[in-house]
């Protein structure tokens, strides 16, 4: 068995290396297949998949891009937990590793899933900012403002789909919007620049697809690679809906804006 490196990296192997022999069981489209690989220190599941695809099984398919946890392309279920392959080190996983495609999202081939299964839900909450009329300059927003802090906690989502896969409510009620879409909905509802809060709240308030389906398992919180807590956003949405029910809807004041240098001389 060769070493688990593509030749490009082999030059690095000149220091203390912990070699582990790992059996990797991959749930492929045509059944499970096991591979034995040797890992070097600091290698991840993604490195192992590359080694397998390069050297052992060229037809293996998986998806990746940035390899540093910023793009959310390499989501898969590793040893039963939704993870990004690029950020899952092999060393702590032990001698047996199982790798499966994400759940609740249709599989295209092997570990490649059709992210349309994720985005079809995401799209339903109108995930884009619709600027309020008159919003012509960046707003003045002190970073310590309460609402801004709440948004910041959920802003770094990379739409990797791990939370959707981990959400057992989606397994029970396939129409449920799921954690990522609801997290995005809350960020926009809380954003003073946005003009579509009513539309979004009416979507997330619907009984079958909306926040009321959430059973607070918090599986999404456990698996999120960016340490976002979608459950927190969902609880905010629930309370926002209830507050509106009790006190009615009050228009938000227009935020202060910052004058900046204008372009197009």
């Amino acid at each position: 068995m060769g070493v688990l490196v593509s030749p490009a990296f082999s030059d690095f192997v000149g220091y203390e290396v912990r070699v582990l022999t790992v059996t990797i069981r991959i749930a492929r489209s045509n059944g499970e297949q096991a591979f034995v690989v040797e890992t070097l220190a600091q290698q991840t599941v993604l490195d192992a998949l590359f080694y397998i695809q390069n050297e052992l099984e060229p037809s293996l398919s998986f998806r990746c891009s940035c390899r540093v946890g910023m793009c959310g392309s390499c989501g898969m279920v590793i040893n039963g937990k939704e993870s990004l392959a690029c950020r899952t080190s092999l060393n702590p996983l032990g001698a047996e590793v199982t790798v499966q495609p994400l759940r609740h999202i249709p599989v295209i081939k092997d570990l490649v899933v059709d992210m349309e299964g994720f985005f079809s839900k995401y799209r339903l909450v109108d995930p884009y900012l619709k600027p309020r009329p008159g919003l012509v300059n960046p707003i003045v927003a002190p970073p310590s403002g309460h609402l801004r802090e709440e948004i910041d906690l959920g802003l770094e989502c990379i739409s990797c789909g791990l939370c959707l896969s981990a959400c057992d409510v989606v397994g029970m009620v396939p129409e449920f919007l799921g954690p990522a879409a609801l997290n995005r909905a809350y960020n926009l509802v809380a954003d003073v620049r946005d003009d579509l809060a009513e539309q979004r709240l009416s979507m997330v308030g619907q009984s079958r697809v909306g926040v009321w389906q959430c059973h607070t398992h918090m599986s999404c919180v456990e698996v999120c690679p960016k340490n976002i807590a979608p459950t927190r956003a969902i609880s905010h949405l629930k309370r926002t809906l209830i507050r509106r029910r009790i006190t009615g809807h009050r228009p938000r004041p227009m935020p202060k804006v910052q004058r900046i240098v204008q372009e197009e001389v």
Binding site: L4, P7, A8, F9, S10, D11, F12, G14, Y15, V17, L40, Q42, Q43, T44, Q53, N54, E55, P58, S59, L60, S61, S65, C66, R67, V68, G69, M70, C71, S73, C86, R87, I108, K109, V112, M115, F119, Y122, D126, P127, Y128, P131, V136, N137, P138, V140, A141, P142, P143, G145, R148, I151, L155, E156, S159, L188, R193, Q258, V261, Q262, E263
Partner: protein, 581 residues
């Protein structure tokens, strides 16, 4: 074979591609737009990986002229000044649009206005950012806006050829990676926004699927290329053993905030290379200094040097650079409390397709934006000007296409030609038992790192040229097996082909430029030669030359600012005056 006709074909879904799609649509909503991306929309590519931020003049104490001067100075005065001007002048409006229309939200100062941090090579703190992972915010929000508009998207489709007659582009041949089938797309206007990504180097920062496809496509279609020798190496690429995280960048803000670089002997070596600016010198200087230290043997256990920010205080580092702390933690170090081993890493390609400031290439119907285009950054790009380029030019070129596309003709390509070209790109299925593209890629990366990397010599470049010819021949012997659906080896083969072609361009350009300038350093010509080399190297595919390309030089046009060296030379009355650094 399946063919489609659209008004505007956009290749690539990074900052340039998505922003252009929005602007084409907003300028002329009647245009039928098709966005084709090699990966998932907004997820593949490098804008997503932007960490530090976006250079823009917002503060009244700063000025667009200063940003312009910094950009030229950083680029060692071989930038296309009109392109650089369009960059700095379009930056405030782009930030404006990102904040008020796209939905981005950048970090604020305590008073609530947009925060701007320090980056290397700049005379003012002007880098707007969102934490230390700015690209996520920009790409997610641009993607959200594209979802809201009637823009057709083909994900995991890669362009394998721009189809045209040598003077005009009429569309592109596209491979559906998921099905393994080809699709011919006719378009009035084609935008090349696939991004560069010099991944032909052993240590490289771009995302893994990047392979300079756009440059190879444009070159083969006959477009004029420029500055191909200018490859930027980022000084602080993380070393993570044999893992693929190796080469990923630790952001420039670390040095901007006061991070220090040490060699294995604990010496702050920048004092010997640039005592004034130290670690805040431009990337070319700092990267080469690191490389020299490594080559001189003053290297750490993984063959690198060390960056240390612990003196800034652990709490400050954790709060300001959470993404970097996390990344470093993933590979087993603590950025907040101690040094981390880093190495120069191939990061960005300043060279690319020659364009004007509205993105027109030398071919009718082919527009280029983002890293695929050359000329904006000259010989070295400033940190924070990269994402600025892709978004600003995405907007500009999108507007231009929106204005012009309806007037461009829709030229039909005969079915026979589509068939012929798709057979060509499926030729790897005909051979059996041949070369493994992953191994060839390894060869290429070692070759380019050693022979055409941070330090170049004529003898090495000659050897590199020969080795690349051999490699290109081996590419023809790659065999791909299995079924065609989502076949990664096929993609590897196509990637490798692009990379070898672009490597050839880099090598040829590098051997022409017999001086050192910015990122291009010739050991045999170590001085910057302003008397002879305030010029750009242009390339164009040509079957009548031995190399398959013709090379020509043009003087830089100083349309807006005359470089200090030229001014001095004029004062001296001696045009041959050589300025040494």
């Amino acid at each position: 074979m399946r063919t489609e006709s659209v008004d505007v074909l956009i290749l690539g879904s990074g900052g340039a591609g998505l922003f252009a799609a929005l602007h084409v649509h907003d300028t002329n909503p009647r245009l039928k737009i098709l966005l084709v991306t090699k990966g998932l929309m907004g997820k593949s590519g490098c804008t997503r990986m932007v960490q530090g931020g976006f250079n823009v003049v917002l503060d009244p104490a700063d000025s667009i002229e200063r940003h312009f001067s910094d950009t030229l100075k950083g680029g060692r005065y071989v930038n296309d000044q009109e392109l650089a001007w369009a960059l700095v002048q379009g930056a405030p409006g782009t930030i404006h649009e990102l904040e008020t229309r796209v939905g981005c939200f950048f970090d604020r100062r305590p008073d609530g206005t947009i925060h701007q941090k320090a980056f290397a090579g700049q005379s003012f703190d002007r880098t707007v950012h969102r934490g230390d992972l700015t690209g996520i915010e920009i790409m997610e929000r641009l993607r959200d806006q594209v979802l809201a508009r009637p823009i057709a998207v083909l994900e995991e489709h890669r362009a394998v050829e721009l189809v045209g007659d040598g003077s005009r582009i009429s569309g592109a041949l596209v491979l559906d990676i998921r099905r393994g089938t080809f699709l011919g797309i006719h378009a009035r206007a084609t935008l090349l926004a696939t991004g560069g990504g010099p991944t032909m180097y052993k240590i490289a920062a771009p995302s893994l699927e990047k392979s300079e496809d756009g440059l190879a496509l444009a070159f083969r279609a006959g477009a004029i290329m420029r500055d191909m020798e200018m490859v930027q190496y980022h000084p602080t690429g993380l070393l993570a053993g044999a893992g693929r995280v190796t080469g990923s960048v630790l952001e420039e803000g670390l040095r901007g905030a006061g991070g220090r670089l040490f060699n294995a002997q604990g010496e702050r070596y920048m004092a010997r290379y640039d005592p004034d600016r130290m670690e805040r010198a431009t990337r070319d200087v700092v990267a080469r200094a690191g490389y020299m230290e490594i080559m001189a043997g003053r290297r750490g256990p993984q063959g690198g040097v060390f960056i240390d920010v612990s003196h800034l205080g652990a709490a400050f580092v954790r709060k300001t650079f959470p993404g970097m702390v996390q990344r470093v933690k993933d590979v087993g170090y603590d950025l907040a409390t101690g040094p981390v081993e880093v190495s120069p890493t191939a990061h960005f390609h300043m060279g690319g397709v020659a364009i004007d400031s509205d993105g027109h290439s030398s071919l009718l119907g082919l527009f280029v934006a983002g890293e695929d285009a050359g000329g904006v950054h000259g010989a070295n790009r400033l940190g924070g000007n990269g994402v600025a380029e892709s978004t600003i030019y995405g907007r500009r070129v999108g507007d231009a296409i929106g204005r012009e596309a309806a007037e461009l003709p829709l030229v039909s390509v005969p079915d026979a030609q589509w068939e012929l070209r798709s057979q060509h790109h499926a030729r790897f299925w005909q051979t059996t038992g041949g070369e493994n593209p992953a191994h060839l890629l390894g060869e290429l990366r070692s070759l380019m790192w050693e022979k055409c990397g941070l330090v170049r010599r004529q003898t090495d470049l000659n050897a590199c040229r020969d080795a690349l010819a051999v490699l290109l021949d081996k590419v023809e012997h790659i065999s791909v097996t299995g079924n065609r659906e989502y076949n990664l080896r096929w993609s590897d083969a196509l990637n490798l082909e692009s990379l070898v072609i672009v490597s050839q361009m880099i090598t040829e350009s590098a051997s022409v430029r017999t001086e050192s300038r910015g990122s291009h350093y010739r050991e045999d010509f170590p001085q910057e030669n302003n008397a002879e080399w305030l010029k750009n190297v242009y390339l164009q595919a040509d079957d009548h030359h031995d190399l398959g390309m013709k090379i020509f030089l043009k003087d830089v046009q100083f349309t807006r600012e005359i470089p200090p060296a030229v001014k001095e030379a004029k004062l001296d009355g001696n045009p041959q005056h050589m300025v040494q650094r």
